[in-house]
Assembly symmetry: C2
Homo-oligomer: 346 residues x 2
DNA sequence: CATGATCGTGTAAACGTCAACACGCTCGTT
DNA sequence: AACGAGCGTGTTGACGTTTACACGATCATG
């Protein structure tokens, strides 16, 4: 016994067919579907039976046209395969689902063009709200498109000139803490590999890095700062370049989960031992940091909480909250592990 | 200068407003939007200008109602935070996007109830097609719901009584290969931790495991087989239990990416050294396997290709292909690394 | 120069739903 | 018995599109 899934597209039953089958008018069916109280129990039962029988599901398009809401939230992430964003989605889901909203995730693969395409699709589809992580704060087309949305938008960890609620993560202090610790141990040349300065995390990490050195009265060697892209390949390439340079760093900060992967791989391929040959700090993937040997010090943040907070902000707007944009800042933790030690030659 | 995103819901411009602004009828605007050739170039230009001016995006709900298609594909995955499924989505995307379809991912968190909810939502939203990974083949409600879809559905790596195209991954042979190799090295007690036998991968892995032992003329100790759930916690718990038992295995097969994580963690926490104290084989996360020390032998498959193949099958159906269900089987590779060795006490 | 084909455009119906309104029925009240 | 209130149900426009059809203008043809 097997169930058919006709490619030809079996027509879905409509409210009219349910009405006919139950021997009532479409208005009554609609009231039953909408859980309106104004229906006699006996009628309701008959309608419910007809619905079940026919496998009726109300047509969302028609419903959306009448009610101007779709109970759909769009979730824009730079990269599906990155656990960091997936966890955010998971957190948001836990808040939105109980309210009857469906969260649909869409991955831009860090392409501003695809971000615009997503925003337009979301607008076409009358999505009720959006949670977005942009891949480039300077992409004006994306920002204009957000302005046109007409529904509440929550922005994650970006600084964009848009009147939207934002959930920020703290990056600067944690980098400062880590760099401070490395300086304490005697490191004088520390390499930083992180995201582009076109997004807040990249900018803040570089800023925190510089501040830590300046505070210690040390000069900043720009050669040691690599802040351009967010990918394992980039992390690997820059780490390799740093470690094979004329005057290599004695510690590497791989700030970003993909970069962390790539950088760690580069260190391994060079046959270097952590922390004897090189001190190493990762970010955003506490699991990986704890699985390798020795465990790696990691800058961590609770992404599920980010998702919950973002969903909370959105939900308030969906309920009609009218007030100036709100900003939430969530903290980071430095999970100290055995991957950092005093530099060898010194 | 900042852009507004009114919570109140700025009304979106409609085709009527564009028509008025361009001084033509709505029919003409629709023809321009639909790229029909029957429009004078001068008129087209005027309409296009009006559209751009107003930031017009056609209302997908209204369009869907007329045309019965939404250019939307639903993608159901058991777990967003699992890279394996994310990669499938990525692969599918590369095939579907050029055809104008948008892929929206939804995570069921391995809950059959949420799978049903997703399927109903997809039907309500008139999605044009679905790619689904079910979390339990025995959930009849889910299967019935698939039968009602009325649009093509592609199933990933599950055996369900549904007339749908399927993309399978090969599991049995690769497990046999690995177990054979371990036997060769002298292992006689091998622990298997994998997914529930309610899904094909779990079943096939257990079957492959048994076959390898039987072929070698060895008895199968059911205590060594743990096939119940797919999560890091489960992997950790069962691995711990196996390794602290009265007669522990000398090798562990952690078949499943989350299970791999958890199992590896359990081994670490017990302070065991791979491969001296215990031989270890993982699955589905070649990256992790290569990052830890020593690198871990892993059963790997190309999930992006799975996604591409699934999307290809779906696309054919969307184009109207009418033929019996097709099945594609994709292979697995055993990436041999230094985590397996001859057992110590023997 | 009449005829018909072609072209560009406008008009109107339909898609499936919701909700305002209307209507008839049953009660309780006087 | 008459009346109004309230309840359950049916009817009827919208919502924004697409598309078949209609129509006038232009143009080539005999």
């Amino acid at each position: 016994m097997s169930v058919k899934t006709p490619a030809g597209g079996r027509r879905q039953p409509t409210i009219h067919e349910v009405a006919a089958s139950a021997g009532v008018s479409i208005g009554t069916v609609s009231r039953v579907a909408g859980e309106s109280p104004r229906v006699a129990p006996e009628t309701r039962a008959r309608v419910l039976a007809a619905m079940a029988e026919l496998g009726y599901q109300p047509n969302a398009a028609a419903r959306a046209m009448r009610t101007n809401q779709t109970k759909t939230i769009g979730f824009l992430i730079p990269d599906m395969t990155n656990q960091v964003f997936a966890r955010v989605a998971q957190g948001a889901e836990t808040v939105l689902a109980p309210e009857g909203y469906m969260l649909f995730a869409f991955s831009s693969n860090r392409s501003p063009a695809r971000e615009v395409a997503f925003l337009q699709a979301a607008r076409q589809r009358q999505m009720d709200g959006l949670i977005v992580t942009l891949s480039d704060e300077t992409a004006t087309a994306t920002i204009e498109e957000i302005g046109r949305m007409g529904v509440p938008v929550v922005v994650l960890d970006r600084e964009v000139p848009v009147e939207a609620d934002v959930v920020y993560s703290e990056h600067m202090q944690s980098i400062e803490t880590v760099v401070g610790q490395l300086l304490e141990l005697g490191h004088r040349r520390i390499g930083l590999v992180t995201a582009s300065q076109n997004i807040r995390p990249g900018r803040d990490r570089v800023a925190g890095f510089r501040r830590a050195l300046e505070r210690a009265g040390l000069p900043v060697d720009d050669w040691l700062i690599r802040a351009n892209r967010q990918s394992a390949e980039y992390g690997a390439a820059e780490t390799h370049d740093l470690l094979t340079g004329a005057n290599p760093p004695t510690a590497i900060l791989a700030a970003g989960s993909d970069i962390f992967y790539g950088a760690l791989r580069a260190v391994r391929l060079l046959g270097l031992t952590i922390p004897d040959d090189i001190s190493f700090v990762g970010a955003d993937d506490p699991l990986l940091g704890d699985l390798v040997y020795p465990p790696i010090t990691v800058i961590d943040r609770d992404m599920v909480e980010v998702g919950r907070q973002a969903a909370g902000l959105l939900l308030d707007r969906l309920r009609g909250l009218d007030m100036p944009p709100r900003r939430i800042m969530l903290g980071s933790n430095v999970l100290l592990r055995r991957s950092i030690a005093a530099p060898r030659h010194r």
